[in-house]
Amino acid sequence: MAIADPPRRLSLWRLVWPARVPGGFRRTARVPWIPIAIISVIVVMALFAPLLAPYSPIDQTLRDKLLPPAWLAGGSDRYFLGTDAFGRDILSRLIHGARISLIVALLALTAGGGVGLLVGIVAGYLGGAVDSVLMRLVDAAFAFPAILFALLLAVTMGQGLGTLVIAISLLLWASFARLIRGEVLSLRQRDFVALARVRGCSAPRIMLTHILPNVFNTFMVLVTLNIGVVIIAEATLSFLGAGIPPPTPSWGLMISEGRGRIADAWWVALIPGIAITLMVLAVNLFGDWLRDRLDPRLRQL
């Protein structure tokens, strides 16, 4: 067919609001409004946590412990989503937990994704021995059970945000590196890169000005799809006792603390569980759509 795909430009506006098509047919899936709404709510919660939360997330009122959500028998109007075993307001913890989740995701993806991006570009562009060495490192990272590594690190350095971020970054970088490298390998063959080389641009300059902007879409898709991975990893490490230490309200920790009470106080674990599930579902569906929009060739995700 002679109809070429439109040049790939990243227009955020068009992403969210695609042009109406005569004939009513759309080439890709509809804009995922529900996931976008969920993500927006969570982002707003994270940004304005102190303003939105009715209580402090760590203040205990032991007398009010394990109150069910307001709409259930025995629930109190003061605690809309009920309280946990320390009498802390679950709604407030949930709101502040969104902040923790997003901070962890942001830091881990910046660190892990950034390293992956760098390694991928360098390995893919320079090739040769550099590529071999870096890719063997990536292989090693894949052969090494990642969660275990995170566990080891958490017990080595003590629990905390820093450890968690490092651990999760270590879990992420290899897959970023591998996929970005693949992308760079095909970019390297393209004319504009050859042209730049002919013009005498230095390798770092080509990587920065020609390669980087062109793998950015891929990178963004990877970042989106990996937000879920980070959130689940955080929760899993909390379960294994190597996550963010209490009393900081992380969703994973909230589930972990409440999991023994499913029989009698299900809301303690179920509510953050639903929050995680919704969030991960939303970012994944959004990421799937973004990938379809930006980079349909990305498949190994």
């Binding site: 032991l62 320390f86 017990v155 003590g158 009470r261």
Partner: protein, 545 residues
């Protein structure tokens, strides 16, 4: 006196059995499945296993030289029915219960006892007390078939307790002839002991199976035919298994207790299994001199700020008690328990107003910053919860608490000479055991690991007083004087407020009443290894509703 207790105990057990059990129920049947959080090393060689593992599943098949006081929870008769100290304090003589046999039919004699103790002290032993046994035990002699004498290098008042399962696993009696005949390897594969349960199978990472002996046993003849101890690390799964009947009994924590009760399970609590405390690290050190926590009254104020009743009710779901002073329980030996109970109730009360007043008087009207380390042994998640609750209570009197979480294995003071935690408060836990001096020595002696009162370079007044008392206690043979010295030791340390108890905890078990009948655990013993043989079938003794 011990003999009397033993006789009474045996008689009463026999009586209970005779009264409640119709004759046909004498037959052993059914399987008792016990789900537990950890199987430790999961080895049945006593020299390779630490105390909790030994008490959970080795106790099932091995008897210990010294046993339990089933009523009170302290030390009582075991393989030895009585023991006595030589007048000079340098030897203990143990008189063994006659008629005991190993599972292969061999008679249990003084030779086995000597062999077992020497094996525990041997170079391959991982027993935690192996080193101190090597240091304190001079020789072990077989006097006659059922009499064995242990010579010590210095008076060892605590020796019988140390050879009791109430304290340590080092008293487990192994079959000399059998091990010498088949070798260690084979023994580890097919271990035999003299307990009321015989070894059947050990599946690493999953379970250990036993079957009941068919002959009468002094610990009691099992009512069930088989016993399986299952490893189920996840607590919610353990409870689920009890609910579905896949397990009859499961160890649980206070978090799950409420749910288990609401789900119709019986919850058994064993009092006095441990004490939760907070303690201050290195308060004697020159570099901590200007820190608020270097002041005794500030430390006391922090104690006053803790609403222990709230913690007991809400964190421990009511299944805990107000504590005695540090590392003491109602069953502690040579100790005026009642007096100290009264004292503790007063001293460990909740008085935030007074706490604030003291802080103001000491120059901290607006509180101060306190670093607080929260830590818990694997399987004691509630310790973290207690620490979290305590931190919140301190916050409420104006102290800015920085709560830092430590995983037990990397908990610094044990590891790196206290360094990183100097000037910190931390959570800690002490197991329930009847010999207070042992535990005090580990915490307060200037040579100890924790050395909470002072090290060898900085041993001030309270520290010196402690050292003096502890030394006197070590060689005191008279029981009355011993009690006085213990009380003195407790007094000296309690008044420093460097270690402050929060509550006396319990062991908890969720029980499916359709699978087992009513039973009691041994006070102070979290583990059920010495209890299974006394657990009736449900039709023999149903739980009271």
């Amino acid at each position: 006196m011990f003999r009397k207790i033993a006789r009474v105990a045996t008689l009463s057990v026999a009586l209970v059995v005779a009264v409640t059990v119709p004759p046909h129920a004498q037959e052993q049947k059914g399987a008792l499945v016990f789900a537990v959080e950890s199987l430790g090393a999961q080895t049945l060689d006593p020299i390779l296993e630490g105390r909790p593992g030994n008490a959970v599943y080795q106790a099932v098949m091995y008897d210990s030289l010294v046993g339990f006081d089933l009523e009170k929870g302290g030390v009582g008769p075991g393989v030895a029915e009585r023991w006595e100290l030589a007048p000079d304090g340098l030897a203990w003589t143990f008189y063994l219960r006659p008629g005991q046999t190993f599972h292969n039919g061999d008679k249990l004699t003084a030779h086995d006892v000597k062999f077992s103790l020497e094996r525990q002290m041997g170079p391959n032993s991982l027993a935690s007390a192996a080193a101190s046994m090597r240091r304190t035990i001079k020789s072990i002699e077989v006097i006659e078939d059922l009499t064995v004498r242990v010579q010590t290098t210095s008076p060892q008042i605590g020796l019988p307790a140390g050879l009791s399962r109430a304290v340590a696993p080092e008293g487990a009696i192994m079959p000399k002839a059998y091990i010498e005949r088949v070798g260690e390897e084979e023994f580890r594969k097919k271990p035999i002991g003299s307990g009321p349960w015989k070894f059947v199978r050990n599946v690493p990472g999953d379970r250990i199976e036993f079957t009941a002996v068919t002959t009468p046993h002094w610990r009691g003849r099992p009512q069930f035919k088989d016993l399986t101890i299952l490893l189920v690390p996840e607590e919610s799964t353990r409870v689920a298994m009890v609910r579905t009947g896949e397990a009859a009994i499961a160890s649980i924590g206070p978090e799950t207790m409420l749910g288990a009760t609401r789900a119709g399970l019986e919850v058994l609590s064993v009092p006095g299994t441990m004490q939760a405390v907070f303690q201050f690290w290195g308060t004697y050190k020159p570099e901590v001199k200007d820190s608020p926590i270097a002041k005794v009254r500030v430390r006391q104020a922090l104690s006053l700020a803790i609403d222990r009743q709230q913690v007991i009710e809400h964190v421990m779901n009511g299944k805990a008690r107000r504590p005695h002073p540090f590392a003491t329980f109602a069953y502690t030996d040579y100790f005026s328990a009642d007096r100290w109970k009264k004292w503790a109730d007063e001293a460990y009360r909740y008085d935030p107003v007074l706490a604030k007043k003291i802080l103001a008087e000491e120059g901290y009207p607006n509180g101060f910053e306190l670093k607080f380390a929260n830590t818990a042994l694997p399987g004691t998640q509630f310790m973290v919860n207690i620490g979290t609750a305590v931190a919140d209570m301190w916050t409420k009197i104006g102290i800015k608490v920085t709560l830092k979480h430590y995983e037990w294995g990397s908990f610094a003071p044990l590891e790196r000479n206290q360094g990183p935690l100097i000037g910190w408060a931390s959570m800690y836990r002490t197991a329930g055991r009847p010999d207070a001096p042992w535990r005090y020595d580990g915490a307060f002696s200037p040579e100890s690991i924790q050395r909470l009162l002072g090290d060898t370079d900085n041993c001030q007044e309270a520290c010196q007083e402690y050292v003096k008392t502890a030394r006197a206690l070590g060689s005191e043979l008279d029981k009355t004087k011993r009690t006085a010295l213990t009380d003195r030791m407790v007094e000296v340390t309690a008044n420093t407020w460097t270690v402050v108890p929060i509550l006396e905890g319990m062991g908890y078990y969720a029980i499916n009443t359709k699978q087992v009948g009513q039973f009691d655990a041994i006070a102070g013993r979290h583990e059920l290894g010495d209890v299974f043989e006394r657990i009736p079938r449900p039709e023999q003794k149903p739980w009271k509703k």
